[in-house]
């Protein structure tokens, strides 16, 4: 399970949860034909540079994305990442059918 940053009493969607940010980053990578440069992810996921570096590191440690290239870093989803996104999409559709947002 990927931990959530949400507090006990969560505010209505003003702030994104950690999980939501992870998913946004991974979806940007997927949208970019599974080869995304940091700048594209930064704009696509609407993050500051510092936060992007932090989250990319965390996602790498979780084994859902991988980094290639030395000067021009490229990020792509691993098989585990693709499976996670598919599972998340299912959960999102299920929760949304009841009117719950995740």
């Amino acid at each position: 399970m990927i931990p959530s940053e949400q507090a006990q009493t969560k505010p209505p969607s003003k702030y994104r949860s950690q999980l939501r940010i992870y998913v946004d980053i991974m979806r940007v990578i997927q949208r970019e034909s599974n080869e995304a440069k940091p700048t594209r992810i930064l704009y696509g996921a609407n993050l500051s540079h510092d936060r992007l570096v932090k989250y990319l590191e965390e996602l790498k440690n979780l084994g859902v994305i991988q980094e290639t290239g030395t000067d021009d870093k490229i990020y792509s989803l691993t098989q585990k990442g693709i499976e996670f996104l598919n599972n998340f999409r299912r959960v999102e559709t299920f929760a949304s059918a009841f009117g719950f947002k995740i």
Binding site: M1, I2, P3, S4, Q6, K10, P12, L19, F84, N87, F88, R90, V91, T93, F94, A95, S96, A97, F98, G99, F100, K101, I102
Partner: protein, 195 residues
């Protein structure tokens, strides 16, 4: 019919648990517990009725039917109360009194107008919330969930009519309840096998 409802409720509960484990979202935990309770209530009620049927309505076993109904009623009130609570948390409305109704102590009833009214009240609230969700989302899955809770509300309306000595409504209520659970099954199949 209770056993079909039980299987579908457990399937929905399992899907919600999988979602909770993945997303760590509390509303999914409420959904899981809610359908787990619904399933348990239906299983106990179904089992009690089956035993009464198998012993050919022997006087010594008739209390099982009332007991099964009472347990099912309590399970449903808590389950729908949990769902109402989840919607209240999500929408942040201040009608927490509705959730309080879930904690109402229940007595031994056999399709009593009061118990049916409580369930109807909770289900109308949930159906309204899922209806609002459908009007915003317009997805097939949302329409199935909306239809399911409308059917379950109609089922309890029919159970209410049944308590006023109208036996035909018992069969209609059972059909409406089954239809509601089948709609939930359709939603589950759609979520897991999107076209």
């Amino acid at each position: 019919m209770e056993f079909i409802g039980f299987v579908i409720a457990i399937a929905v509960s399992y899907q919600a648990l999988k979602g909770y484990k993945l997303a760590n979202e509390r509303t999914l935990l409420y959904l899981h517990l809610s359908f787990l309770l619904l399933g348990a209530g239906l299983a106990i009620d179904g089992l009690a009725n089956l035993i009464v049927l198998l012993v050919r309505f022997h006087r010594a076993f008739l209390f099982l039917s009332s007991l099964g109904y009472t347990i099912n009623f309590i399970a449903q009130v808590v389950a729908y109360g949990l769902l109402v609570f989840a919607y209240i948390q999500q929408t942040r409305t201040s009608v927490s009194q509705v959730a309080m109704a879930a904690a109402m102590p229940a007595l031994l009833f056999e399709h009593n107008p009061v118990t049916e009214l409580i369930l109807l009240f909770l289900l109308v609230y949930i159906a309204t919330q899922t209806g609002i969700n459908y009007s915003v989302n317009k997805t097939a899955s949302a329409s199935f969930v909306f239809g399911a809770f409308v059917s379950l509300a109609i089922a309890h309306l029919f159970f209410l009519f049944f308590t006023f000595s109208a036996p035909v409504f018992f069969a209609l209520a059972q059909i409406a309840q089954l239809f509601g659970f089948l709609l939930l099954l359709a939603m589950l199949l759609r979520v897991n096998h999107p076209s």
